[in-house]
């Protein structure tokens, strides 16, 4: 894929020739992709195509799976994230993640958002932390709903609110990239619409990569779309091109609902 219109002037993350293995099984086969700084990039593809696996290799969450092995090159601002000198703790502070199912900690709303800043020592005093928590909740569009009950448990919120809380939690450590792994798949349509709106607002502040099995969602929120199939990257391009004028037969079949 060397098309000119795909060239991203200032990529935030560059992946080159990435393979991911789970034990003997190869889940990702030779994937190269650039993630733009001001863009929302969507990964689409049928279940089991490896899009989530690839996403998780961007912040080394695959490290938590004992049998997983990643080869190839992934760079964040030109720095190899799998290099021995890379501190995975700092990497994950720079590349945040939101999961498929909302997973707030069983702590108060305030402590959920304050967790990251605290462990990274971003807030020297209580007042600083208050500011950070408020700013993160405002950005995540949750502040107005929870400002009067910050000490209530995060798990008591509705599913959509929980997911926005998780986004606020990720934002609070001031990351450069936010990875979202099917963030709406456990939510109802209204909550989904809110999250999509939020992604629009966050665009430009963070590089966002979103995995979704919902093609309309990819079309709505992203500027770049990558289509994965059977562990390979089939096509990557501007979202409008992918959905209106796919170059690959397989992409066309998938977006027209032939399989998936």
């Amino acid at each position: 894929m060397t098309q000119d219109d795909l060239t991203i002037a200032d990529p935030k993350m560059k992946a080159h020739g990435v393979n991911v293995f789970y034990g003997e099984k190869q889940a990702i086969n030779d994937v190269s992709i650039d993630v733009g700084t001001d863009l929302v990039t969507a990964f689409i593809g049928p279940s089991g195509c490896g899009k989530s696996t690839f996403l998780r290799s961007l912040n080394r969450m695959n490290d938590t799976v004992a049998s997983a092995k990643v080869t190839g090159q992934i760079e964040l601002d030109g720095e190899d994230i799998y290099a021995p000198s890379m501190d995975v703790v700092q990497l994950r502070a720079r590349v945040g993640m939101v999961f498929q199912k909302p997973n707030p900690f069983p702590k108060s709303i305030y402590d959920n958002v304050g967790y990251g800043p605290r462990i990274h020592g971003l807030a020297p005093g209580k007042a600083d932390l208050d500011v950070i928590v408020e700013r993160a909740l405002v950005r995540a569009g949750l502040w107005d709903e929870v400002k009067d009950r910050l000490q209530e448990s995060g798990t008591a919120l509705s599913g959509g609110q929980q997911q926005r809380l998780c986004i606020a939690r990720a934002i609070a450590v001031d990351p450069e990239v936010i990875l979202m792994d099917e963030p709406c798949s456990a939510l109802d349509p209204i909550a989904t619409a809110k999250i999509e709106e939020l992604i629009h607002e966050l665009r430009g502040k963070y590089a966002i990569v979103i995995v979704t099995h919902n093609m309309q969602q990819a079309a709505r929120v992203s500027q770049r779309t990558a289509f994965f199939h059977l562990g390979t990257l089939v096509e990557y391009g501007k979202t409008t091109d992918i959905f209106t004028n796919p170059k690959q037969e397989r992409t066309k079949d998938y977006i027209t609902g032939r399989y998936g």
């Binding site: 938590t64 994950r92 999961f99 702590k107 967790y115 998780c166």
Partner: protein, 458 residues
């Protein structure tokens, strides 16, 4: 001819087998006819007949075995030979049982001369009731079997019936444990009430002097506070100071850090530790830990250092409880969803921060429940404290001194010569009741906590 329950049980089991074969054969026969289709498969018909044959007869056998001796004795007592029996219960009983033993052939000759004339009436009565019993049992078995046999028809729902009966049997089995517990509580309660007639409950619960020295010049005192304090000191304080941190750290290591190979070996070893008989821990406490601690205390210049110390018993008890705490904590930490751990790691938390700030707080209710269960086990534990904690009822916070516990005192009160109506002996039951109530409450609270916690993650 005597009434041999075991042999008769075998007999009806044999009949039931025949019934099974007959029932199956009959249904097979019915099925063989053209155009008929059985509702249930033949062996269910067989089981139906067998159960009808066996169950009523066996039930009768059980009842008859328990009532027939009384019937026999009644008949013997009604005879002329029995009129000369002494009226004093004990002697009368001895003579009767002597005669019975000879009549049933368990003994060649009478030991008490007075029993001799009763042997024949006994033999007669036994004979008579044995025949009645056997005849009634066989009649019941045959009646049941015939009843069931005649009901076999192609559309008869034998399977449903059999399954219902099986369910009933299972229900009865599960009731056994519950009813037994109930009976134990009742008996404990009755003896305790007898004790509380002699000593007020307030004295037992709030008195500070424990001196149940029956026969001594000064009156006995049954103040339970020193015992309760000793129990709490050993079981809830010292043992938990040992067991909670070590158990928790074990669980954290095993769930978060240990390689699968290590986990595969360490977990079963811990479980074996939980199966070591407590008397073995008791030896260890009394022979190894206690003397070492005493020397240590003497070296430090601590007064009242005893070879029977609260510390020795508490430490060993704590070691005993470690597998219990670690396995409960292990379960709770494992029950915390992986998503929680991922969420923390994805924010750039280290594994250590994740464990301390997310996993353990999330697992805490389950862990707390486990700890309460462990406490309830520790305060009910007997062997270790009997062997290592001593029997002197001291109220002291000095862990090197000798203290005593509720369980150790129960053992002391109930061993050796005892009269079952003195306050001293009855006190053991009252103490047992207190212990039972406390552990019951602890268990209820603990199980509630654990349950609510489980629900939260499912």
């Amino acid at each position: 001819m005597t009434f041999n329950a075991a042999a008769l049980l075998l007999l009806i089991a044999g009949l039931a087998l025949i019934g099974w074969l007959a029932g199956r054969a009959r249904s097979n026969l019915l099925a063989g006819r053209a155009g008929t289709k059985l509702h249930s498969r033949p062996q269910y018909h067989g089981w139906y007949v067998a159960l009808w044959l066996f169950a009523p007869a066996a039930l009768f056998l059980a009842v008859w075995s328990s009532v027939s001796p009384a019937l026999i004795t009644n008949q013997v007592l009604a005879t002329e030979a029995a009129q000369s029996l002494p009226s004093f219960g004990f002697e009368r009983g001895a003579i009767l049982s002597d005669a019975r033993a000879v009549a049933q052939g368990k003994q060649a000759d009478v030991r008490l001369p007075a029993a001799a004339p009763l042997v024949k009436p006994y033999a007669d009565a036994s004979h008579k009731y044995a025949w009645i019993g056997i005849a009634a049992m066989l009649a019941l078995a045959l009646a049941g079997g015939l009843y069931a046999f005649t009901r076999i028809k192609p559309d008869f729902r034998a399977r449903t019936r059999v399954e219902k009966i099986v369910m009933l049997v299972l229900l009865l089995a599960s009731l056994v444990a519950i009813l037994t517990t109930f009976g134990i509580v009742l008996s404990l309660l009755f003896e305790s009430i007898r004790f509380f007639r002699l000593v007020s409950p307030a004295e037992l619960l709030f008195g500070t002097q424990w001196a149940p020295t029956s026969g001594a010049p000064q009156p006995d005192t049954f103040g339970g506070i020193p015992l309760f304090w000793g129990t709490v000191l050993i079981g809830a304080i010292i043992a938990m100071i040992v067991a909670i941190p070590i158990g928790m750290m074990t669980a954290v290591y095993l769930t978060q850090y240990a390689a699968p190979v290590v986990r595969k070996w360490v977990k079963p070893i811990l479980e074996i530790l939980a199966g070591v008989p407590t008397v073995v821990y008791g030896y260890f406490a009394a022979l190894t830990v206690a003397p070492a601690l005493r020397e240590f205390a003497v070296m430090l210049g601590i007064p009242n250092a005893s070879t029977e110390s609260a510390l020795a018993a508490g430490i060993v008890m704590g070691v005993m409880i470690i597998p219990f705490v670690s396995s409960m904590a292990d379960d709770s930490i494992n029950a915390v969803p992986q998503a929680m751990r991922d969420g923390s790691l994805a924010l750039g938390a280290t594994p250590n921060e994740t464990i301390r700030q997310v996993l353990i707080p999330a697992a805490l209710p389950g862990v707390m429940g486990g700890i309460l269960l462990a406490v309830s086990r520790a305060i009910g534990e007997t062997m270790i404290v009997v062997m290592a904690a001593g029997l002197s009822a001291n109220m002291t916070a000095n862990p090197f001194a000798s203290v005593t516990t509720v369980t150790a005192q129960i053992v002391k009160l109930l061993t050796g010569d005892q009269e079952f109506d003195s306050a001293k002996t009855l006190a053991a039951f009252a103490l047992g009741l207190v212990l039972f109530i406390v552990t019951l409450l602890l268990n209820i609270v603990a199980l509630r906590i654990v349950k609510r916690y489980r629900e939260a993650y499912e």
